[in-house]
Subunit: 102 residues, 2 copies
């Protein structure tokens, strides 16, 4: 990697991943499709509004897919796309570093 | 990795790394010891105050070491500690994902 100058692709990836709660949301979704309340359960300190905003963002960036099941009541699930699942290396490396140094 | 519940170590690592500019600063320092102005050069949009705050934080967390060389004028350099260098897997995986998807 050329560390002598900043890389725009690294910069935009780091900005996306660096947003508060995003890293945690992605880690939860690594466990498979989840409903809103399942995600909130693992991240209780995050507000509903924040989760709603982050999911819209991640959906618009193609990292998360939202599926509406026309049941009674309606069931909505969120899951990682291929692009999202490809972040597993990132979450694994943060996990490994956290276990060693935190 | 157990995705069924949040991991406090992952959470604190993600929070540290997720702070705005921190990921970029760490990437710059992967290239070796740097002076304040060298870091600013690669991240022009970041204010001096922000960089000062982040460096204090990273120093207090043991991720960065600050060395003062008693020359005329004084020379101050920042470098990653072992704990900091151990983030290379994280920065590499963000770089790889960014190159593929951004």
């Amino acid at each position: 990697m050329d560390y002598s100058k900043m890389c725009p692709k690294f910069e935009s990836a780091a900005e996306l991943l660096g947003k508060k709660w995003t890293g945690l949301i992605i880690r939860v979704l690594m466990g498979g499709p989840k409903r809103f309340k399942d995600i909130k359960e693992q991240i209780p300190d995050m507000s509903d509004k924040m989760l709603t905003d982050r999911m819209k963002e991640l959906e618009s960036l193609g990292v998360v897919k939202r599926t509406v099941y026309p049941e009674m009541p309606v069931r909505i699930e969120y899951e990682l796309t291929e692009k999202g699942r490809d972040l597993e290396e990132v979450t694994n490396s943060i996990q490994a570093w956290g276990e060693k140094w935190m």
